[in-house]
């Protein structure tokens, strides 16, 4: 099946440091998206990168996509305690309008 798998599963950093999360997938995609989920809450869309794009920025977020390696990374710069959450990558296939989620990375930013 085409799942996004992320690593690390958990990441603990100090406030102000950068956090990098990686995502791998298995088949051709139309786009890859990153979502954030605070504990017990809903999913918030962060950023979408299309298959023909290699890098995208949004505020303190930087996403890269390498379709040859079927991988993506999410970089959060200058992290804040409020960034503490779970981060999920999700892929949308070429032929299907649905998201397949990865298992997520739990990020803890220590103040």
């Amino acid at each position: 099946s085409q799942q996004g798998e992320e690593d690390p599963q958990a990441l603990s950093i100090q406030e102000g440091e950068n956090a990098t999360m990686n995502c791998s997938y298995k088949t051709s995609i139309n786009n890859l998206q990153w979502y954030r989920q605070n504990s017990g809450r809903g999913l918030v869309h962060l950023i979408l990168i299309r298959s023909n794009e290699r890098e995208k920025h949004s505020g303190r977020l930087r996403v890269t996509l390498d379709t040859s390696k079927k991988s993506s990374s999410l970089l959060i710069t200058a992290s804040r305690a409020a960034d503490t959450a779970s981060y999920f990558c999700a892929t949308e296939w070429d032929s299907s309008y649905k998201l397949i989620f990865g298992s997520g990375t739990r990020l803890l930013v220590r103040p």
Partner: protein
Amino acid sequence: EPEVTQTPSHQVTQMGQEVILRCVPISNHLYFYWYRQILGQKVEFLVSFYNNEISEKSEIFDDQFSVERPDGSNFTLKIRSTKLEDSAMYFCARGGTGGAFNGYTFGSGTRLTVV
């Protein structure tokens, strides 16, 4: 854009009972989705709904599940006879508007607990 609102936020039900989860309001969108997340696990696709019909469904979405858009705005997920393993967070989502797609908008979820 208006948020996707789900009701109830938390529902406890007896095993074997029927539950209806609601997603409101919905307007001017073509694609709607239900996803679920069992505690501590990944978010799983259940069903997509396009132009008032099921577009795609997963293996999870068996005969116990159904979706409707009864009055053109609300979007509901019904589980006919709940099982313990149906306990999860259920998320409604909508696709982007018009021709530009910029990601899905998820509701805050309904936590279903089957006892």
